[in-house]
């Protein structure tokens, strides 16, 4: 397999960043196959829980992407994302996981090139950091049920 292939989880908001990823594709911009995008409606939907779950399972990096400040389709969702990422970074610091493994970026629907560039940059950044301290555990945990999948409490 040669060079270290990081395992990077990317959260992308539906309106700007996911569209930016589409544009990168339509423009055939090449970037490393190290990222796995999870679409959410708004970067404000991302919780510390999601990010920590990724690290718990050995993700080498987590990238949260959303609309530029002021562009949020939901007015202020991306401000929540800022708080979430900051809080999570503090927890990573305590856990001794390099905060460089977590990043927040604003990518607009017109920024295909930027999307590709950030995927490449972040991959390089993670390569420089090397494998996550938690990287070796939790392989082969195919399809465990999601945290919080409780019986829909009928109320």
């Amino acid at each position: 397999m040669g060079e270290f292939q990081p395992r990077i989880v990317v959260f992308a908001c539906n309106w700007c960043s996911y569209a930016g990823a589409d544009l990168a594709g339509a423009s055939r911009m090449q970037y490393p196959p190290t990222t796995r995008v999870i679409r959410v409606m708004c970067s404000g939907r991302v919780t510390p829980g999601f990010i920590l779950e990724a690290f718990r399972l050995g993700a080498d990096g987590v990238l949260v992407t959303g609309c530029h400040p002021g562009d949020c389709h939901y007015i202020s969702g991306n401000q929540n994302a800022v708080a979430t990422v900051e809080k999570t970074a503090q927890l990573l610091r305590l856990l001794g996981i390099e905060t460089g493994r977590l990043r927040l970026e604003w990518i607009s629907a017109a920024e295909g090139a930027r999307f590709a560039r950030i995927m490449t940059e972040f991959t390089d950044q993670i390569r420089a950091l090397g494998q996550s301290p938690l990287g070796n555990s939790h392989r082969g945990e195919l399809d465990t049920v999601g945290i919080g999948e409780h019986i829909g409490c009928e109320t």
Binding site: A19, C67, D71, S108, A109, E111, R114
Partner: protein, 426 residues
């Protein structure tokens, strides 16, 4: 209830169509180009929020494409409008794309293979497209179009690489123009504007100096999806432009060209100056103006920020001429307002805020639609009936009725929709 015909698929046409469609009215949206989106699609950011233009426009374009009450007629033109308010019969001429809209997925595989390169109009000729092309990445419909003037097959009957490439079998060189007849109750005209060609004003050095460009070319240059990937590079040597001069009223407020004020240039130049600084903190901008017109919502605050936070210099003086020094730097000549003496400033890049003028075919279209144009050639309206044209049942919105910024165009579009709808009550 009768349908409504909307002519012109820019932001005004899109808004009018969506409003009418949401009122439960069937809309036929006719666009001259292969995709809707209009001028706004070419912009990078929009003032005074610096919103990404594509981000806010393309969801609306998608809404148009998938709205059950909207029928898109792209790459088409209106050639006749008979009848009267409440009961018109319109003839729409649909140009052949030589691509089957139903089959094409817009994947662009054909364009990858097509051998013919053509200057890309969407990018102001700043880069090349192929003879088979998608008008721009977010185009709606997501369908390729073959440019008959440059397609080797259509010109010389050979090539056909696209036919071999397309697994959807969407290429159809047998396609011919279609005439569509529509019965509609009202018409909304929103064919937009054109930019004044500065070549006539030789003193500004456009074409003579490679580093003198127009505002729209600047938009494409600074656009992340543009030819330079959003890097502000001088055409002459591809070096980053750090000193930028914005020259206002190029063709506007000038009895020899356009007597009127183009309304939006003071702000779009301010925005472009701010963007230059956002892309490169080193950048310094100079905006040369006569009266600074910024009376829209949040505009003065925006300009204040441009001055305070982005170090944009506003120079109260209309530029007399632009020369070029040995390093291809445009040299801007103007009168220093304080000393009333001639002054000059060399910059890396000079940007001409050219007038917003009626599209060349507006007069012809006006004839077809049976409406009058005003002394400037814009679709004629009156102050108290702002979106009514001279023909009952035909309404106008956006820059075809005079220079307007985006929100004004959107408001006019909704207003035209309201007026049009009131002709449909049966």
């Amino acid at each position: 209830m009768r349908d409504v015909l909307v002519v012109g698929g820019g932001i005004a046409g899109i808004q009018a169509s969506l409003d009418l469609a949401e009122m439960g009215i069937q809309v036929h949206l006719v666009e001259r180009l292969p995709s809707i989106g209009g001028r706004m699609a070419q912009l990078d950011k929009t003032f005074p929020t610096n919103d990404c233009s594509t981000c806010i426009l393309s969801p609306k374009m998608n809404d148009c494409a998938r709205h059950p009450n909207i029928t898109l007629h792209t790459y088409a033109e209106v050639t006749a409008l008979a009848g009267s308010a409440g009961d018109f019969t319109a003839t729409v001429h649909e140009h052949p794309r030589y691509v089957d809209e139903a089959k094409c997925t817009g994947c662009g595989e054909c364009a990858q293979k097509c051998p013919t390169k053509v200057p890309d109009a969407f990018d102001m000729g700043l880069r090349q497209r192929k003879a088979i092309y998608l008008y721009f990445p977010q185009a709606i419909p997501q369908v390729m179009t073959i440019d008959p003037d440059h397609c080797i097959y259509l010109q010389r009957g050979k090539c056909g690489v696209c036919i071999k490439t397309c697994q959807a079998e969407a290429i159809d060189f047998e396609q011919t123009a279609r005439e569509v007849t529509l019965r509609v109750g009202a018409v909304v005209v929103s064919v937009g504007f054109d930019f004044f060609d500065p070549r006539g004003l030789t003193q500004f050095g456009y074409e003579r100096c490679p580093n003198v460009i127009t505002a729209l070319e600047y938009e494409r240059l600074i656009s992340a999806s543009g030819p330079t990937g959003g890097h502000l590079l001088r055409p002459s040597d591809g070096q980053p432009a750090r000193q930028i001069g914005f020259i206002q009223c190029v063709g506007s407020r000038d009895v020899r060209y356009q007597a009127f004020c183009s309304s939006v240039c003071c702000m779009h130049s301010s925005k472009q100056a701010v963007l230059a600084c956002e892309h490169d903190p080193e950048a310094t901008s100079y905006v040369f103006y006569a009266d600074f017109r910024a009376s829209g919502k949040g505009f003065r605050e925006y300009v204040a920020r441009a001055e305070r936070e982005y170090g944009v210099h506003y120079v109260r003086s209309r530029v007399a001429r632009v020369t070029e020094d040995e390093a291809n730097n445009p040299v801007i000549h103007y009168e220093d307002a304080d000393t009333s003496r001639p002054a000059r400033r060399a910059v890396d890049l000079a940007v001409l805020a050219t007038s917003l003028i009626p599209r060349p075919d507006t007069a012809r279209l006006a004839q077809v639609l049976g409406i009058e144009v005003d002394s400037n050639g814009f679709v004629k309206t009156e102050p108290l009936t702002p979106v009514d044209t001279t023909r009952p049942g035909v309404f106008a919105a956006g820059c075809c009725r005079g220079p307007s910024d985006i929100p004004e165009s959107v408001v006019q579009a909704s207003a035209a929709a309201a007026r049009a709808a009131s002709w449909l009550v049966d």
